[in-house]
Subunit: 357 residues, 4 copies
């Protein structure tokens, strides 16, 4: 199977390049009978949209999505749902400067090696612009899950460079993620991180981030051992997001230092007594809160000059002018939610195939 589709039964295929006329997606497998309109998708799209704060790229995109098929009289029909967003701010600037250059840290070199050519305008297909369609598709998945099980998604930025949120005893202040432009669940850290980003922008540099996801209401029983485990598919989904370099579930890398007596989540008639596992046991959801974290690398689109080579392997210096996020992890928050939603809805349908509920 070519690589531009995700999901076995709720299948999302995306297309389009950063500076082509449109980006789009087809969702095949959405059950019939879901009330659906563009408005259902727009809220999440707006959270991912560029140009929303000084900490995100100044590219101005309305990101207004259109539903072209699969919905009739306001309700899904079971046929493929096509989504389209026009690229409105694809500035016809001159890309000749980077046409034959491999920008370090970008996909320029690898796309060229793979395909023998590339659409160099704004990164072409490798641009994170594609993730808008993931967010749109994910919004449909979220609506299904909300209606079916009351599933809720909480996600936020936990770390930006040196600014990290410690865990307090009562969990994180998820409501706060809607209050600050950095989507951080801690107002104080968000403020410090904001100042840090301002300085970084002056330097012409960027920084990485860590994003945390918590999903409540996921029913027990989702996941298909031994390869299509719930956590394995979640790992793939999250690692497939541009710039993500690490994925963890539950206690993540910390488990390397834990003892079994410490890690195992004991059970009582009232339920699990802890959640080190992050809601997955043996690759199957346990009904506990699903917990995952991902690390976003700092974007390589910075104005600090860097060494590289061109297509003829000649040494070159590259400076990325243009409009870029200093911390791509921020806009990554709704994408993380979306990809998790796609995994959950897909595994729900797979489970329903097997046991009819």
């Amino acid at each position: 199977m070519p690589g531009n589709s995700f999901g076995e039964l709720f299948r999302v295929t995306t297309f389009g390049e950063s500076h082509g006329p449109v980006i789009g997606a087809i969702i095949d497998g959405c059950p019939a009978g879901l009330a659906l309109s563009e408005a259902d998708l727009q809220a999440d799209l707006d959270r991912r949209k560029p140009g929303q704060s000084r900490y995100t790229t100044a590219r101005r995109e309305a990101d207004e999505v259109k539903i072209l098929s699969g919905v009739f009289d306001g309700v899904t029909t079971g046929t493929p749902i096509a989504l389209l967003i026009e690229n409105t701010d694809q500035r016809s600037k001159d890309y000749s400067a980077i046409k034959d250059l491999y920008r370090p840290g970008h996909a320029d070199f690898t796309y060229d090696k793979k395909y023998g050519r590339r659409d160099y305008r704004g990164g072409g297909r490798s641009s994170a612009r594609e993730t808008a369609m993931r967010v749109a598709a994910g919004a449909i998945a979220k609506k299904l899950l909300q209606q079916q099980f009351g599933v809720q998604f909480y996600a936020g930025v936990m770390q930006i460079g040196p600014h990290e949120i410690g865990r307090n005893g009562d969990g994180f202040d998820w409501a706060q993620t809607r209050e600050n432009a950095l989507f951080m669940p801690d107002a104080e850290v968000a403020e410090a991180a904001a100042q840090y980003l301002k300085d970084l922008l002056k330097e012409g540099d960027s920084v990485g981030a860590r994003v945390r996801l918590e999903v409540t209401g996921v029913p027990a029983g989702l996941g298909e051992p031994v390869f299509d485990r719930f956590d394995a598919d979640l790992a793939k989904a999250l690692m497939s997001i541009n710039a993500v370099k690490a994925v963890s579930v539950g206690d993540g890398f910390a488990v390397a230092a834990q003892k079994g007596s410490e890690h195992r989540d004991e059970m009582s008639p009232e339920g699990f007594l802890s959640n080190h596992a992050g809601g997955v046991l043996g690759g199957i959801s346990s009904g506990q809160t699903v917990i995952a974290e991902v690390a976003f690398k700092p974007t390589s689109s910075i104005t600090k000059p860097g060494q590289t080579v061109d297509r003829w392997n000649q040494p070159q210096t590259v400076v990325t002018r243009g409009r870029h996020d200093p911390c791509v992890g921020i806009r990554g928050v709704p994408i993380v939610e979306a990809m998790a939603a796609l995994v959950i809805v897909d595994h729900w349908l797979r489970q329903r195939a097997q046991n009819g509920s």
Copy 2:
């Protein structure tokens, strides 16, 4: 697709339970013309085999693999290769004690929720015994990759509880991983960790581990954006291994604290000047060494009593007697290599479909 297969073009399907008569696998899609015999698989199987040291379970399994199809006159024919291992030490002990119990940290609860029943003998299908077939299949993938590109796999345990290997300037001493029973690339740390494990066994507890993988010789151009990225499929492959809770590529979670000027791997006519990316850019292999790390949780099979419930949600105390690894990450080393090999060979075939080489 049900969940017991991995790979698009080099497709591995495994079957069998811990205490059934056999475990097995079918490899469909292996190119014709590869010289192959059981001996090619046995070396890796022996590294994973239980009972090899005091740090692994005392279960005695010969793990002798048979090739039942797909090879004729010592050479693969392009038809499915079936592999079979008999379970020889499936002690007919009495499992009635845990028959209706959900052992904390195990898949007992979730399998029951998913399927409405479970084979409780030794964990049934959720047992890590299944991973023997991954190692066997991975060995075929390795042989193909070795012949085609000279790909080499290096993996070892970097951390067991508090005992962690620091990075030296010249990389790790991979040869050392064959010298100590813990597969650690540092003799001194291995010795300390061994003593730690001895104490742990007396306590009746277990511990987690971190495993590192480096693969050299992977050609540039593997990986199918935007979802079936090389690193996304690697993340899935590794997260699908029993007990794995986190996966990272290149600098992993450390990227959250890095700046773009620090992270991006600059290029010169002689090649990349660093490898923070871990051999993947934009989801496509770059030709650099592929670097990944995973965390194994501590097994929950310990003799320290734990609280749990039974199928009727009555409180119970569970103690896991029997034969178990104090640190499942150790035997995880060849499994990590095998899963990576399956990803690489699959993406190589996918790439070859597109460009014919």
Copy 3:
């Protein structure tokens, strides 16, 4: 996998309804480096286009296709190719008459049973309008095959009701299929059939047809036993076309009366001495001309009144007014070619994955 995609490696996904704003397709897996423009697709689209003669529906559609992604500087990039056609003549007529009726011989009843609702405007998703996208996608496949192997497609209508073309000694006059509006490879039979259709239109009835396909230049070795045989995938592809009720390869149903000594195609150093097999042996292409035939049922959209029921199972009489083909098999010719092209190109890529050429 949901049902709106075809192909494993050259994967076509279509979307859109008869009376929605657009129909479209994504082709994922098209190799990079193919020169491609809208003009390459238009010729085949024009052959399928409605309103080309009095023997096809009077619906007027420009069927002008746009390429929205995947092509840069006139050449495919290896990323998904999105195609779009606007529906221009989706007359906003009143569909309330058939809104709750199950037209006999149509998908009204089964769509309702499957999805619990349906887009009743012009058949919605079940309309043959969708096949325009198959023709567009097939044109890309054809161009690839033409360039790679010189593959040529010949197809025509062999039978319309009682008017049937007998086989002459030297094969069929394929050039003639471009000379008459019925795409028949025999001018005389075409004329008689045309008169027959004129009468039929007056009666308000329709008729079935048989279409024959011959493909030359298909290399030997395509097809993946034992299930994804070349002929099995061809059968699926052709049976998936609206109104097709039968598919045969080579001598087809006539083999039931043949003896082995008669059927087997003997070989000489100059090649095969006959082609009863239709170019496929053991599910793998032999390098001979691929021969297949399909039967199209007569459309049920006729003005002769028919008995049926409505959603409340009340008896009703239905008359299909509007614009319809008296013989849908005619416009089926380019669709048959397109589906065969998709099968061949897909199996070529699958074969190339295995042996690199």
Copy 4:
């Protein structure tokens, strides 16, 4: 995906060669909770088994199937079901005579072209011996469908060479198919055909056959437009059977001569008034009896000498000695049923994923 698997959610993968030690299959995706033992599979296997009458090959195979996994305490667990049959009568005869020959009408030539080599012992993987596993897997599908919906399968040989069964007014005498060795639903025709076969055996020749399938109890709503239609997947399933050259649904090729007013199945409050469609409308099952027919070619394994070439393209004469069926369509009957069962169960699970019932 390699070609040795069938089905999306109820996935069957087969392996093994005619003269290897075993043939086998994995069924992945069988719902948990089905009571299952070897006896459930044996009845159908015995119908396909060689050596049951003078009209089938004299090869003696017990064809005793073993269930190696996926069943615990007599009930399926939801994990993969592995099936194995030992090849007991793989006579170690000398195959050197055909080692380098391409037997006309066999897969020898095409396997060599595809894979560059072949297992020439008894046809290797291309042997119809593989279909025993289809029958075994199909028996599981049948049991599921019988329990869930009361689905019943009726199949028989309608034509052997010149001996053809005409349709009587009341359908066919399916009970009779269990009374004669040719599985024909007409005792008289069966007797004449039997005599014909006896003469044919003396001649050293073989003959084709037509097989009809009727399935009752298939619920409405199965099939996934627009490509994975119920009839399209059925066509693929049936065409994937060794020696099948044509597949039809409902009235099949006869529709080319029908008028719309004649073909469309009108409806009344009591149901459909006819079944020209064969139980499928718009690619979705209608709840009517599913009707399909297939044509089996005459086997090319005959003792009449035939011209061919060897691997070095030198002219040769070939005579197939050994044990062969004079009419492979006879033993094809249970295989046709099995493949249809696999299609139905797979589409049932796909439908259940979408609407939960």
